[in-house]
């Protein structure tokens, strides 16, 4: 039931073809959900600058290309995460302006280049193997209109490498920290700054790393109070949350 139908009902009531009681009755049997206009509008505003997103993993190149093209019609930015070069090739045949960000394993169509974020988002990663996850966060935050700076390969076992970047960290409005193995970096970074830190456990490590579980538990128990955590390898989620914070 859209506004049209509703207006029609009111008009009929006005014309006395429908009594108020009957109108109430009719309304009662309509699916009330379709009334939610405000919500949609409200959300439309909220969603300004938000990219349309596809989780490409496990989809065929043609599936990805199909969805990507459909979403691109809306005119905004489009992002496909966990994407392969094959999937990109399929997308590029219809959307040659789309790019493939290899490190981030992401297909990106950037059209809205407005800055929505108020400050800089810094993305930190512990080891070189964590870079794909960190880059997914970078790409996501960039596509959502943020200035992003990345600082890579500064693990806790070389704390001076981290401290050398203290100034950059101090300038961040939000920080994303990606780390596998023991997942200790967010605590150390969190202790150095006074801004929100989004921690991303990665599945990097072996043995008792248990595919990111060790890092996840470590981050959940961070002794730094400004740390909150997203799912293992969820660079996209971290970029998304950081972008929302940076718009506040």
């Amino acid at each position: 039931m859209d506004a049209q139908a509703l207006r029609k009902l009111f008009t009929e009531v006005r014309r006395k073809r429908v009594s108020p009681d009957e109108a109430v009755e009719r309304l009662r049997h309509m699916p009330f959900e379709d009334l939610g206009f405000a919500k949609v509008d409200h959300h439309r505003a909220l969603r300004q600058g938000m990219p349309e997103v596809i989780f490409a993993q496990g989809k065929t190149p043609s599936q990805v290309a199909g969805i990507f093209t459909r979403l691109a019609v809306h005119g905004g930015n489009v992002l496909a995460t966990r994407a392969t070069e094959e999937q990109y090739a399929a997308v590029a045949t219809t959307l040659p302006q789309a790019e493939y960000r290899q490190l981030a394993r992401a297909i990106v169509l950037k059209r809205d280049r407005k800055k929505h974020g108020k400050g800089v988002i810094v993305v930190v990663s512990a080891g070189t193997s964590d870079i794909p996850v960190a880059e997914e966060a970078v790409v996501t935050a960039e596509l959502m209109g943020n200035n992003v700076r990345h600082i890579y390969d500064i693990g806790v076992a070389g704390i001076h490498r981290l401290l050398a970047h203290q100034e950059a960290l101090a300038k961040a409005r939000v920080i994303i920290v990606c780390a596998g193995m023991e997942g200790a970096l967010p605590s150390v970074v969190g202790g150095l700054v006074g801004v929100p830190v989004i921690a991303v456990p990665t599945s990097i490590g072996y043995g008792a790393a248990f595919e990111g579980l060790a890092a996840l538990l470590g981050m959940m128990n961070s002794c730094a109070s400004n740390v909150s955590v997203v799912n293992i390898d969820n660079g996209f989620g971290a970029g998304y949350v950081a972008s929302l914070i940076n718009r506040r």
Copy 2:
């Protein structure tokens, strides 16, 4: 916004004090959820014979008594699960007609005695230690208007004791099976009958029983296709689901 308010709006439209467009606009800014009449009515019907329920564990006797009395005002059946005798004593001072079912650790106020269930619900438990969980299921199902029969202490290691009850099982319309330790009983019962079996893992056991985890995993992997599972020790949930099935 209730029906009253809505009728008033239609009346004003009818009286042309409000134009259809303005009416649509007003409706648009109302919290749409409050329109959901149908749902409430619909649910009221569905809820016929459903008891009001309190999870008493961790509440003080006076808290339980307070909530119990408030819910009793609606005139239906009231059930407090995981309740102690102290909590019952507090309830009984204002509601002396309430009963305490010791085995089930439940406080019961039964006023609606109509039978809503079409057949018999059979509640089976593996060991004597599983009886409190089984009795919670029994009390729940009874309070929801079912004929309930219980068969206790028939573990899988004494399969002939179970087979001796095959006739009773064959007459059930739904079966609840409570078992701790290896949690194997639902599979055996499930294989003997052609009706839905609700399995309740209990926290009975020690060592590698891991507080009901072994039984839970066993039941999730049941080789009998007619078995579905509720939470560890959740006799109430099993009684509730079984009652819904028995009303179909």
Copy 3:
């Protein structure tokens, strides 16, 4: 020892070739299990309309074809779950009327088209990746003689999409909900309806989804009392349980 043998024994008693005492003795040493006639008959009735089922995963195409053909002899419906196209091709050479349901990864031979279910079974799935599990439930329920309606891609993070289907949910006699990741959908659906909800955790997700464990635990702890749970990815089991309930 079948009825034949038993009748012969009674005849010999009648003819006084065997004394009652001796007959009791003989009976005593017979394997008593083979007496269970009633059971079989009883079950035969119960099994009306039940498909014969093969779990095809891990079997060679020729093994699947062999078993499928043998089961097809009984004249009823036959279902092979977790089947590949290669397995289907092998089946189709001898049973060209068998179909392959690609989404459900199922081979289906449908001959009994009688409706055994009294109402509609609604199958809901949270994301597009959950569809194979949901379709397995759909195919199972259809083959067991039910009217099935499916509602796909309505996750909890878009609650209005779910609410838009409230009417359809309200008409269901049983609901199956398939969800991976946090597995929250059964609770929300369960709260909207007054009928049994069969929850199927799926292995969809990554990281801390732990191959469906997160969804499984979420569903076991559902705050909706009408939810019971089957194994991870067990669409067949959900379809089977729902069918039994719908026959009540």
Copy 4:
């Protein structure tokens, strides 16, 4: 840069071969983290309005009183979480202006009443048993200078109760959601709003809730992209992170 090099620099300054400004500049570009001057000051600013915090659990009343009094000397707000009435009594003997917030199990000394937050923080909790955790978040956020609104007892199994508060949710600048059992509420709330959601799993539940693990895993796998998670029962951490975001 060793003592030698440093002495040489001072000597050159003494000999006026290097000006003080140039010396500072050189020092500034020497390794070891730019000597991190700014940091301390910077942090002082950042910490404005931050309460001093004590984790009271497991400490004796006199230990809590001792630490509390010592921290109170700085003149700012002081917060003791997981505190008992006995601990409060000990604090109150020297600091009678301290209050005990029973629901939150917190001792509070509020002196800085300046508003540091730009918008409203909404704290949502699923069940009544989750309130202590939610209240800990409320008290923390209030003490850090925020307007806080709480909405309690709106679980996912009664989605209309949640939707009735949609307007309040829409006005939040940050939302904290506390939930035990299946932990599904953050996903639903996250889907309704466009702001950051801090999810707090609680240890409420029994059986397969595994002391909050089920809720934790559920929240980590949230299908809403704006959700990040803190430790089980960590209301303080959620209040802290939300306050930082609300200051952005």
Copy 5:
């Protein structure tokens, strides 16, 4: 249906009051389980010398006394495991000849003193804290008519203490090994002998012992092929299995 009833049926067939066909029909509708004579007799033989057993933990003294007295009527041995002195006191009022084995936490009534075992059962325990579990195994095996020898406090970190008992081990017909912590002793013992070793993980240890899980996993992965495992702390089960083997 007992032998009496069956004989009556045969007699009526003999007297031609009942035709063979009708007799078959009648038999068909009898609960077949009650026919199982042979089984009971057979089991009676098997059970010669088996004690009646009560798991006393969690039961009140009067409950234990009641069950104990009832089982004692059969004239055989009676064993209550995980029993307290209070429970023993209650038993002793009616059965003064019952003994309390403090180390084993067991109440024992030994009347059948016949040796059923063919050789010696050796019970080995790793540390002094494992002795209660080991003693439970000893008491069980003794009550089932075995010669039992125990060797205590010979952990793997003092391998020479173990080797000093090699001769005693070599004389065993079955060996029970109880160990907590890393649970390594069964492997070492298993490698020294050519007889079956029953391993009992105990819940002794702290930290990563996880209440016996570490020992359980260690024993399941024993590199000695003659080791099989019972539940954590299940001294009774080990004694029972060893007794059955020793009767072979």
Copy 6:
């Protein structure tokens, strides 16, 4: 230090070239372990009829062939478990009399055909997928000189199929039960017989079967006292333990 060296030392003492004190001294500095004659002899007896065993998984065909040939020199039986046809082909080139048991995935060289076992070992398996593990147990027990009988495909959800084999079970001296999924079969079998039952959890199942963990936990918590457990999929271990018991 072998017997030769020892005899030489005694001879030198006898010839008075070495004094007793010096001889003691020399002995003192010899690695005492090499003295362990008795042990070896003792073990040689114990090992009569024991096959030499290779765990072939993860080894190259030529490695398997090399080890197999070397072990075959001793003249006894040789067994390679978890072996592929390729590995067999490599073995067969030098030992054409070796056989490949496809179901058991085992290479077998049987030369000692003496019966060492006193009774029959019955191997039971729950489903067809458990057969490889069961067959590994069968082959192992046969090679160790036992009469083995197997009963396959009798899961707990079809309890009458199991009961039909009760007589065969009753004749067993030891029983091995292999089951995946919920792992309930050992409990049921254990309850029917009075002999030791060796339970083998298999990794069969999906979802919450967790690669055999559910079955393992189920079996550890068996309510039948005559059950002990070996590692997941460890058919060899079960066959080995059962053989040792059957020799008693």
Copy 7:
């Protein structure tokens, strides 16, 4: 068989009362374990300065006193870990010179005050709650003859507090690091120094700390290569290992 017996045998050979062959035969049947002289002597040397140790937890005061007194007879140091004041009081009645180290929960009898360690052992702990574990390590190392320095309350979220102690860390010959929650401190410390770091996870924390499991996993996955780990809360083990290293 001791040296005496052995000498007697050699003497008899010398006197030709026993032939070499017969002597070999006799030796062959002696329990070889008793020969192990060298080992004992060897160990006696190794054990110089090692304290006798009692794990007091779970023992009665009189049991602890009994064992303590018995061990004190040897004249060396005696240590009872996890001891209560009650247990100490019982010890002190017979050994008034014994001390109770409250923070470490240890009873200490120090008589050998020789320094066996070559350098300083530094014990670091992350939070005040970790101090009991750290103190247990300190007491152990002191009793084993080491200079010990402790640095407490320097968590990773306040990295500058840690860096302020860098000089002290640089002087250590071995470092013990005790940390609960995320267990990140060993990695940071490990990266600052070039000596072995013994990490001790503590059970401090709540929620997803899972009684020390999070810290344990974090430490196992340390990105610093000089870290090895002991059991949760095992301060004694860490002190012991560090002492052995410091003697090298």
Copy 8:
């Protein structure tokens, strides 16, 4: 200390009110970690003889070759662990003097052949499958300038094989023990010697070995006090820690 304060200090030095030495002294006592001069030099000394290390797993041959060549420029030893022959081939094209250690899966460039270790490191492994991990430890320790001796294939189920090597163990200054399955070997070895034992759990085993978890837990709970543990399969870490100890 900010730039202002620093400039003031330089100005006072310039004005000769403060001598260079005094200025250095003041700077030294200023906050922020004494400027950590020494550290770098100090570390340079510590790192003498330490190899540069690459974790090759998951890297392409050209990536490994690139990093390897770059690190080789420093003139020290270079080690690539978890390396394939393909990766070696790529390295060898530019650095033909590099070797491939097949058993250890390591690429090695050894130029510094100085002995840094004071004694012998013994590397023990339980089974042949543990050899790759053990060899990684061997190669690491050798490259760090140690005499290394390895003893392979001495599991706990054949304790006499282990005892035969007791003398070799007694000569070790540090011992590394690699074991999968139940991981019991470190406890036994630890009990035989008085030196530090580094335990390495390996992922060898199947079923309940859970990829090394069983061995890891076993080792964490070792009853030998001289055992500390590194990550599953972390032969490199064990070799590194042992080397550091051997330099003490």
